[in-house]
């Protein structure tokens, strides 16, 4: 069989090892996943993704466009996507804000595309080279109206490669935009990893192989047949509420049915979409739920805490939305409290709290000074909480 991860392997230092920058790995994942249309606008700290695409897409006959702004970038991607191309754009906070209306259009029109947001500190211009996880709820609810969302979060360079492939496959299968969140640290770091794990995840949630099982993803067809401009099959695309013909409708029944089906196609496939990994299952009195860079701190904290006599369970989430409802609720039943370290003021902690508060105490640990939360920070907070619990 022909090697499918050819773009990745060109980076190899020798046959067994790679050292790749996070943003570069993301672009290579897109190329290996078959993305052949990229439109973007430069913004720190995501620009390397578009620079790699600019250099590599022509060689595979793809289209690269530097657009006049991020709105045009996402719109060009949707346009290409409506002709059957797999399209992608990459940006950071300010650009992601500009894209929101069009993301809603892509959800409504069921146009597959991948949007990478390498998060920086906001709001507004914020601190452009400073890592943050401040766009988590924007990724979920940034565009107006009730809508579904698929949001993934990368914690290392291998993730940047693998989750980009996952995002492409999910976009194709569920016919909607998929948002991949990274942060400045993950985007800019160089990290070694083995090509063996390219495209694959061995997780508590099961083994995921986005290369083989997803090579020809069967579309989830709960809503409409796919658009493909140029075929006259389902030829009209609109952001208005529409019926199965693709044309607008004002029928209340059909409107509700349409919106519910948009949601259900995601919610009904939560098992498939929710990628996660639990360390120390059932062994901890307390748990840390984390994603992105903070998941790395949490994993390091687990080892440190063990040495200090605090058994901890760590739930590392690769999929933030749809919410891994069952996974969090099962965890909540097992532990005395859940600590959520995030580079924001507790955005995801709120989500976890409303899922888990019937069974356990959820404690938010936010940091917004531009530095990562260290393993020591987490262990100290855990010790404090365990102490507090015991003394009460």
């Amino acid at each position: 069989m022909e090697l499918w991860y050819t773009h990745l392997m060109r980076e190899s230092i020798d046959q067994d090892s790679l050292l790749v920058q996070g943003n570069r790995a993301c672009a290579l994942g897109a190329l290996d996943a078959g993305v052949r249309f990229f439109a973007g606008y430069p913004i720190t700290p995501s620009s390397e993704i578009m620079e790699v695409m600019a250099r590599e897409l022509p060689a595979v006959g793809g289209v690269f466009m530097q657009m006049e702004d991020e709105i045009a970038s996402i719109c060009a991607c949707i346009g290409a996507s409506l002709t059957g191309e797999v399209s992608m754009t990459a940006t950071s906070g300010p650009g992601f804000s500009l894209m929101q209306e069009a993301i809603g259009y892509a959800i409504m029109a069921e146009a597959p595309s991948v949007i990478v947001n390498v998060m920086r500190q906001g709001p507004s211009t914020g601190r452009p080279t400073t890592p943050s996880q401040g766009d988590v709820m924007q990724a979920r609810w940034g565009t107006h109206g009730d809508h579904p969302a698929i949001v993934l979060a990368a914690s290392n360079v291998a993730d940047m490669y693998r989750l980009t492939i996952a995002a492409v496959r999910f976009a194709q299968r569920f016919r909607m935009p998929v948002i991949l969140l990274a942060d400045e640290i993950v985007g800019h770091m160089r990290e070694s990893f083995s090509p063996e794990i390219a495209g694959r995840y061995r997780l508590t949630s099961g083994d995921f192989d986005f290369t083989e099982t997803y090579t020809h993803p069967e579309m989830v067809r709960e809503v409409h047949a796919p658009h493909e401009l140029g075929t006259l099959i389902h030829p009209h695309v609109t952001g208005l509420i529409h019926d199965e013909t693709g044309f607008p409708t004002n029928d209340p029944k059909k409107s509700e049915q349409f919106l519910r089906e948009l949601h259900d196609k995601v919610v009904h496939h939560r098992d498939e979409l929710c990628l996660y990994d639990v360390k120390n299952v059932g062994k901890g009195r307390v748990a840390v739920v984390a994603y992105g860079s903070c998941a790395r701190s949490a994993r390091a904290a687990l080892k440190l805490a063990e040495q200090e006599g605090i058994p901890v369970e760590v739930l590392h989430l690769y999929t933030l939305f749809p919410l891994p409802v069952e996974i969090i609720q099962e965890l909540a039943r097992r532990v005395e409290f859940i600590l959520i370290p995030e580079l924001n003021l507790g955005q995801y902690a709120r989500e976890v709290r409303r899922l888990a508060e019937n069974w356990t105490t959820v404690v938010s640990m936010g940091r917004v000074d531009g530095n990562l939360i260290t393993p020591r920070d987490i262990v100290d907070r855990l010790a404090e909480l365990v102490g507090k619990y015991e003394s009460s």
Partner: protein, 291 residues
């Protein structure tokens, strides 16, 4: 990527019965949303007659609209049609055309959609010289939202958001397009439908970015507040104010004040079209990669 071929019938249509513009219409979607006396249908029909003349294939033609009364036309057209978001039709069209250069891509937009919210996309689309034909329906007002001022309302014009008269000058959209790099620029009116049809037809066959301003009337939201009142009077006004480019050339700016200069205003075939130059770049890159 597919080879670039002109989507134009080489000879006269061989279909036995002469086609009417119904060939390109979803007549089952009628009645349309446009008001009695509105000029948008007239401009749309001029486009469809141009399409008939050229024998555009439905499968290979994509029409993209933004948001507004004019952009709603795409909902009645039997091509591949995209009713996109406000101001961004050209950005959508750019993605479509770059992904499939063999498609004929038409953008229908309005003065609010194209010149206000979408103004930046318009000038960049002109600059890129991508083979897209843009028909901007200019009726001087936001009609769908109920008569607010647009960049083309004009000094002194009355609108719901300019109740004491609009204080801002308008764009000369054709000069804007030309300065931004459009390689085919023309203006017509919904009175001069045959001229408009010809201008649109030539714009579609022009290999590069074509911009056609179609000046038209909105009796409901503009005419209600600004003279002359009524669709017939507004059309007569368009007829009186329109002046062919050739004739206008010998006139002073004072004489041209308030006139609508019509016809082909600018054409330049020397500028490379984007999909063609992109294809050449691909060949160059892939050729050197093979060496």
């Amino acid at each position: 990527m597919a080879e670039r071929e002109p989507n134009v019938a080489e000879e006269e249509s061989t279909v036995a019965e002469p086609r009417t513009i119904d060939h390109y219409l979803h007549t089952d979607r009628f009645p349309h949303i446009w008001c009695p006396g509105c000029g948008l249908g007239t401009v749309t029909a001029a486009f469809l007659r141009a399409a008939l003349e050229l024998g555009l294939e439905k499968e290979r033609t994509v029409v993209v609209g933004g948001i507004g009364c004019s952009s709603r036309a795409v909902g009645y057209l039997d091509f591949g049609t995209v009713h996109s978001i406000h101001g961004r039709a050209l950005a959508f069209a750019t993605g479509i055309k770059m992904a499939h250069p063999e498609f004929t891509v038409i953008v229908l937009t309005g003065d609010g959609d194209g010149a206000a919210i979408g103004g930046n996309h318009l000038i960049h689309a002109c600059r890129r010289n991508l083979d897209i034909t843009t028909i901007l329906f200019n009726n001087n007002v936001y009609g769908m939202t109920g008569g607010q001022a647009s960049p083309q309302t004009g000094m002194g014009g009355i609108a719901t958001t300019a109740p004491f008269g609009f204080d801002e000058p308008s764009f000369d959209l054709c000069r804007l397009a030309e300065a931004a790099g459009a390689t085919y620029v023309a203006r017509g009116t919904s009175y001069g439908v045959r001229q408009l049809q010809r201008l649109i037809r030539d714009g579609i066959t022009h290999p590069g970015f074509s911009f056609i301003e179609a000046v038209t009337q909105c009796p409901t939201e503009y005419g209600k507040r600004n003279p002359p009142k009524g669709p017939v009077q507004m059309l007569e006004n368009l007829k009186e104010k329109a002046i062919p480019r050739k004739k206008a050339e010998g006139m002073t700016p004072e004489e041209l004040e308030g006139r609508i200069v019509t016809g082909l205003l600018h054409r330049d075939e020397s500028v490379p079209e984007l999909t063609a130059s992109y294809a050449r770049m691909l060949e160059r890159v892939r050729g050197s990669a093979d060496e």
